[in-house]
């Protein structure tokens, strides 16, 4: 864990105070995630073919294309709540992705939406709490622990980094960047692991040596956040 002493980082702390995550920024994040999922669809599917059933990229792409349709339908109301938006995304994923990823990502966004509530913009601290609630929801749904070789291996370190960043007053861009970096490290750390959840677990030792596709899509989600949320615009 990267610890930043609050008292010695007053500049960043001040910078963080004025920054908020707006609904349009969240929309930009979702569009950016849809774009990288479409771009890396084959990669996700190939990772899944090695230790699963070769459909992760296809399913996530179908889901995020459905989310793009939903975003167009919802439009960009000036006073729309971030929570309602995230819940709509969660319901869309639940009903369009299928497989394990549908309930897991769907639950993540639904719980994140509940935590975000009615606010039309969120501070970094509120955002970190919402992400933490979403990840806790996905973890409860899938009953996975750290090192089971799942998306949780990327998500939990990312949440910890995000919370630490918020607590120590980092800027939005820096906190989201560290969160994405933690997710990347968590994702890469899945390579040597033996899977204990999902279809990869059927392989036992043979699952070691492959990067987990769910952890990979989770890293894409958080790296899209690091790129799109501070900018508030698409890729």
């Amino acid at each position: 864990m990267i610890a930043v002493a609050p008292d010695t980082d007053a500049g960043a702390k001040t910078a963080a105070r004025g920054e908020v995550i707006t609904r349009p920024a969240v929309v930009a994040w979702l569009r950016a995630f849809a774009a990288v999922v479409a771009r890396d669809r084959e990669l996700l599917t190939e990772l899944d073919a090695a230790i699963g059933d070769a459909d992760h990229g296809i399913n996530m792409d179908r889901g995020m294309q459905a989310v793009l349709g939903k975003l167009d339908e919802l439009g960009e109301p000036a006073d729309g709540s971030v929570g309602a938006l995230l819940k709509a995304v969660g319901m869309t994923l639940v009903s369009s992705v299928g497989g394990a990823a549908g309930p897991l990502y769907g639950t993540l966004f639904l719980q994140m939406g509940s935590a975000a509530g009615q606010a039309s913009e969120l501070t970094l601290a509120a955002w970190a709490s919402a992400v933490a609630a979403g990840v806790a929801g996905a973890q409860a749904r899938g009953k996975a622990e750290l090192q089971d070789k799942t998306m949780i291996d990327a998500l939990l370190p990312a949440v910890a980094a995000l919370r630490a960043g918020a607590a120590s007053g980092l800027s939005l861009a820096e906190a989201l960047g560290r969160s994405a970096e933690a997710a990347r490290q968590g994702m890469e750390a899945t390579v040597p692991l033996v899977a204990r959840k999902g279809r990869a677990s059927y392989l036992g030792q043979r699952s070691a040596g492959h990067q987990d596709p769910g952890a990979t899509s989770s890293w894409l989600l958080l790296s899209a956040a690091a790129t799109a949320l501070p900018a508030g615009t698409g890729p």
Binding site: T45, A49, G52, D53, A54, D55, I58, N59, R62, V94, S95, S96, V97, G98, G99, A100, A101, G102, P103, L104, R141, G142, V194, A195, R196, K197, G198, R199, S201, Y202, L203, G204, R206
Partner: protein, 333 residues
């Protein structure tokens, strides 16, 4: 990839349209959300049975919708669990007031999607029971994995529970029967070739020309081990031994023996397999009291087979023999 398809992403929808065109007199095919329901549903006072799973295993599950078996089936995308809204819509459509049994194969996605659907249905006041089938002995250590996969026993459970529901047995009893079938059944499969998922366009499993995947799953997921190709005699001996030793089945047991083709294997070879199984079980004093031979739970175009043994008693045998009228299984009526 050579397949009789149009656009890969349309395979499931095109096939569902075909089912509707072919069997519209007996089945109703709903789209968005997708589910297949028997035309006379809901039946007042009868427990309804809903199953489903990824497409690519036909005739499972849609081919088993009809009198004496399923009330509804929810087809997902190929090898992808159906979504909760599909299962919820199907559950609503077939609930005749006596409750709904969801038969779920033990795969992470299926279990989570059906769980979410069951929660939503209960919120609406529908009485729902859920039974998870996990009969695949290929996985020896269930504690550190997602658990054993649901395979051949699913077909047997759907038939037997369907017959019990048709006899107006209450939900708790039908669910208990389902658990009894699952507890008394064991399965294992072998792949001679991989399947090819249309959207992927290339084989899921890299099997050499002289290799077989022993303990393969019905999605082409690797199994227990890669082995050199062998005779039907040797393959059946290995599969049957793993199955018999697991329950274990013993001398004097009466069983239902189910030899299932995985989609790319001719019936001729399945009967070669059945003959080997029959001889082997006889030598161990296990009596095949009922059998089912054919391709009922497939993995797209995979060549290979699975064997399922179910320990029978008089109750299970009678329910197995009861009339069934579906596009995939039909007798006694």
């Amino acid at each position: 990839m050579k397949k009789l398809i149009n656009r890969p992403q349309d395979v499931v929808q095109d096939a569902l349209a075909g089912v509707a065109a072919a069997h519209g007199d007996r089945l109703k095919v709903h789209t968005a959300p997708d589910y297949i329901v028997r035309a006379d549903a809901p039946l007042r006072g009868k427990v309804a049975i809903v199953s489903g799973g990824g497409s690519g295993h036909e005739p499972l599950h849609g081919g088993f919708v009809g009198r004496g078996m399923l009330d509804a089936a929810c087809p997902g995308q190929i090898f992808t669990s159906p979504t909760p809204d599909q299962v919820l819509a199907a559950t609503r459509a077939v609930d005749g007031g006596a409750g709904v049994l969801l038969i779920v194969k033990n795969y992470t996605g299926d279990v989570m999607n059906f769980e979410m659907a069951a929660d939503l249905a209960r919120d609406e006041g529908i009485v729902v029971e859920s039974v998870v089938i996990d009969d695949d002995v290929a996985l020896q250590d269930g504690r550190h994995t997602a658990g054993r996969r649901g395979v051949g026993a699913t077909v047997l459970a759907e038939k037997i529970c369907g017959a019990a529901a048709e006899r107006r047995r209450p939900l708790a009893e039908v669910a208990e029967l389902c658990r009894k079938v699952n507890a008394g059944a064991r399965s294992m499969g072998v792949a001679l070739t991989s399947c090819t998922v249309p959207m992927v366009g290339k084989p899921t499993l890299e099997l050499g020309p002289d290799e077989i995947e022993f303990g393969v799953g019905i999605h082409g997921e690797p199994g227990r081990e890669r082995r050199p190709a062998a005779s039907a005699h040797d393959i059946v001996a290995a599969l049957a031994t793993a199955i018999v030793d697991d329950l274990p089945f013993g001398r004097g047991d009466r069983v239902l023996a189910f030899v299932n083709g995985l989609g790319g294997t001719p019936l001729l070879e399945l009967y070669v397999v059945y003959n080997e199984l029959h001889t082997l079980l006889a030598s161990r004093g296990i009596v095949i009291a009922r059998n089912l031979v054919g391709s009922y739970m497939t993995a797209l175009d995979m060549a290979g087979c699975s064997i399922t043994l179910l320990r029978l008693d008089d109750e299970l045998a009678a329910l197995w023999d009861a009339p069934v009228v579906t596009t995939g299984l039909r007798w006694g009526a």
